[in-house]
Subunit: 331 residues, 2 copies
DNA sequence: CTGAAAGCGCTTACAG
DNA sequence: CTGAAAGCGCTTACAG
């Protein structure tokens, strides 16, 4: 069942059927209606693959993240999907699991499928040369987000993590916390920026980050970081967790150790996931707006697809602090 | 840059290049190597769209869920993606947000892109006629999961929710709970099956489900269900939440009301998400294995793609109870 | 406003 | 073991 069949059944040429399908206004209303009726009647289904091949697009866009179980990426993916569906694009999604080899294989599949563009959260080991080989030299429009790749120039959407750290530090210092630990999260630009911001903010008040324990982005990382902290001696006044994900784990860990978060030690995270506000005590957190990151990235990518010669652009979103009981109920 | 260019540069015909690309063993080793060298040298990239069109496949498979922020679907999607990547398929993913119109539009896009198969979690309003029109009549291999559609025959992978409810009921009764409330979750087959199982299991011990409050699958649903329960009078001995998602919200809600989960009232959920074990008290939960659902669904779909005349099959996975402190620390 | 013809980049028999 | 030719289902100039 092809446009040829539709053409035959409605007494026009395939070219005219094609014009109708693409809603070109040039077709006479009567012809148009006749063709549409036939399509309905014989149950013809447009083959976008063929259309795309001829017009050299694919109407698909790739999105690679490390792990969709991370609520930040889940939210971001949903935001991206809404925009793409509106424009008729299909979303090809892949999970690198933070593994460069997996990421590279996915990029390979996407490039062979001739995606019209790619959103990429690079894995921790991704280097400029990999991206250059897969995306740059093929001139495939792409936008990185959340993580940058050293020495690789591309459009980027991210959060100002230094500022996020500073916002939290200011708040903690103002609330009278004198000692602060930074827990969890893998070594990454995001982490070191948040730490840098924390340090800068605390320094203004003559304070420092007393403990800094690197682990992983997972909840297990929060648990183990807390265990290390507890083993080291007296608790700090406040714990800044690398993310809400980590903070929620720390919260449980504190309770398991007989300590009440918010009372025995203040606790805050980054991202402001929906769960943060639903905790008891509600968790103070710095919002990093995955939905806005997704929307901005979509805007940049679509722009780049329409105008391939555009210079790479960087969008830095400003974080915002949500103050809640977990850092304010302590005496 | 096409196989023609490769052919010209290596002194063979396009047909031979095609054979090399598809790793057909028929090609002479020397020829093969020469072609591969040229490909490497001139940086040719295979155009799978063209290949697929000719061989009438697309090497893409669609997956539609309601909301990827739901950890159950996140886990499932990751399991599916691993299997598909191994087989060279690209995963086209869409989120219906439980809206039938959105779901239908996505199916439309996927069908036009000629996906080789579809995994679908139907929206709450999806009817047999919709699926018949989009998938059945086009004979597109597909597998439903987690929710069935009344009157629609298709392969299905799900959890035995009646048994899940019964497992939990048995445990609660054995632990000496006399009154049980079932909280949260939207009206659905999964919910009514869990409730049916709970009732059946409690009945054996002469007990009933004392309260049954329907809300939504979201955490907010848990909060509001708990509020309604608290307004109704004395607490039951145990709360069975529709899901862990809901249970975690109930846990926070209890604390906010000055009640300690596990001590003042027992609490359990369904799904056994990773967070459940990390809570304090650790949350009793009935595991529903999203990863296994994803893997089984992949197996069924790939089978169906290879053998289109296969009869639809149903796979019911057995749930398992993880007993933890939230239902055992009460006197 | 509509049609005939060429072409997108591959694969598929078939011939040799 | 390799090549010439046709074809997958569309779109794209171009002509009328």
């Amino acid at each position: 069942m092809t446009i040829k069949d539709v053409a035959a059944a409605s007494g026009v040429s395939p070219a005219t059927v094609s014009l109708v399908l693409r809603e070109e206004p040039v077709v006479a209303a009567a012809t148009r209606q006749r063709v549409l009726d036939v399509i309905d009647q014989i149950g013809y289904v447009y083959d976008r693959r063929a259309a795309n091949m001829r017009s050299n697009r694919s109407m698909t866009i790739g999105l690679i993240v490390t792990d969709i179980r991370n609520p930040f990426f889940a939210e971001l993916s949903m935001a991206v999907e809404v925009v793409l569906q509106e424009r008729g694009y299909a979303l090809i999604q892949g999970y690198s699991r933070d593994d460069r080899a997996r990421e590279d294989r996915m990029l390979g599949v996407m490039v062979e499928q001739r995606v019209d563009g790619v959103f990429l959260l690079p894995s921790k080991d991704t280097a400029a040369e990999h991206l250059q080989a897969r995306l740059g030299s093929a001139r495939i429009p792409h936008v990185l987000f959340a993580r940058r790749v050293a020495g690789y120039e591309a459009s980027y959407v991210g959060i100002n993590n230094v500022r996020a750290g500073r916002l939290l530090a200011e708040h903690l210092a103002t609330e009278g916390h004198r000692t602060v630990a930074f827990l969890g999260g893998p070594r990454s630009d995001a982490r070191s920026d948040r730490l840098r911001g924390l340090r800068a903010g605390l320094k203004k008040h003559g304070l420092t980050v007393d403990e800094n324990i690197v682990t992983s982005a997972l909840r297990e990382g929060g648990i183990s970081a807390l265990e290390q902290l507890l083993a080291k001696g007296p608790l700090p006044d406040a714990i800044a967790a690398y993310s809400d994900n980590v903070a929620l784990a720390v919260m449980s860990g504190l309770r398991a150790a007989g300590l009440e978060p918010g009372r025995d030690v203040s606790l805050a995270g980054f991202d402001d996931v929906p769960e943060a506000a639903l905790q008891h005590p509600a968790l103070t957190s710095v919002a990093t707006y995955p939905e806005r990151v997704g929307t901005e990235a979509s805007r940049l990518l679509l722009e780049q697809i329409e105008q391939p010669d555009l210079e790479p652009r960087t969008v830095m979103l400003e974080p915002a602090l949500s103050v809640r009981a977990s850092t304010t109920t302590r005496a």
